[in-house]
Symmetry: C2
Subunit: 208 residues, 2 copies
């Protein structure tokens, strides 16, 4: 299989390094994640990504069409798990809404801050607002709508006017995204504890 470290077909790489155990494409994604989150998208060259992944600049094009494809894929990977979980929670009609909202906040924070390279910080890149990443933004909007529905389903949320509900949703969602900024500046903080505290704070904002 591709991941097994046996003899590999093709010309050997110029820079020999210990086998990462990852497929070349995954190596590129990991490298891109690290560079995009720390240096930014525009500031990261194809050469930097490729060399970090252990190959020469031109070889990258054997696996991806360019930087854009890498960012698009990384962005999707940051929302998809939270969105699946949010859908699951919306379908659950036995657990109280307060508890489901809390669970979503915790899971979202844990997912955003998980992994070695603070993938959540990809949201912050200005390039995300360009037309070509509209797909990602649509998925993100769906996640935000799940937050809105859960807040509306709580006892406190049920009585809110439409505008007030939107405002609370924005604040809760803003807190979750703001958490990424905190995590970026203080990465040593324990994530589980932080996720719990953020969820508490989110519920207080929601008015529960």
């Amino acid at each position: 299989m591709g991941t097994s470290s046996g003899r590999r077909v093709g010309r050997p790489r110029a820079a020999q390094r210990p086998d990462s155990g990852l497929e070349p494409r995954a190596e590129l994604l990991v490298a891109a994640a690290e560079l995009f989150t720390t240096r930014g998208y525009a500031a990261t060259t194809t050469r930097a990504v490729a060399e970090r992944a252990g190959m020469r600049q031109a070889s990258m094009y054997h696996y991806v069409s360019g930087k854009e494809e890498l960012l698009a894929e990384l962005l999707e990977s940051t929302v998809t798990p939270s969105l699946s979980y949010a859908r699951e929670l919306l379908a659950d009609d036995v657990t109280p809404a307060e508890e489901r909202l809390r669970a979503l906040c915790r899971a979202d924070v844990e997912l955003l801050c998980a992994g070695p390279h603070n993938l959540g910080a990809l949201y912050l890149l200005p390039e995300v607002h360009e037309e070509r990443f509209a797909g990602f933004r649509a998925v993100r909007a769906e996640l935000k709508d799940a937050y809105r529905q859960l807040i509306a389903a709580t006892a406190a949320g049920g009585v809110l006017a439409k505008g007030e509900l939107e405002l609370r949703t924005d604040l809760v969602f803003g807190l979750i995204e703001g958490v990424i900024l905190i995590h970026r500046s203080e990465p040593e903080r324990r994530i589980d504890e932080f996720a719990r505290a953020t969820a508490d704070a989110a519920l207080r904002i929601a008015g529960v």
Copy 2:
């Protein structure tokens, strides 16, 4: 005076446009603010900044040493007003801490969201974490410490353990920064109302 629109010394600009009433350096700063916040720092070329300011690329160097200087100056301008106000509030020993914290939150959100180009979004640029902008980060850290002191001075904050106080401070500060993200995606929302709601939310997180 420089701002008066009378006859100007020097070769006329190639692209004639209505007088903005700003000094050329200010025109460059405004142009840079718009481009950095929307497209990002690395993605913005000196040509783009200069042309938007109404001059040719090379002419920019008559006023600034490059993009870096523009970003550094813009960054400072986003914190300095909030920091002055925070110092004022810290020195005030008659107003209750809760009220001062609320005032700081409101003012900070208003300042970050004010102006045509969402200057607050400059915080989010990955480049801000590079060594050369350490000065800005230091000022930002001082502002965060003011938040911490105000939270500690509240009735609820006074009894917190050190770690818990740090956590609350991070969450409050994260909310304020997260607000920029919301404002970026929903710029039409009324800022004063939004600032008030954010301050309320911040106090709830602080435990007041």
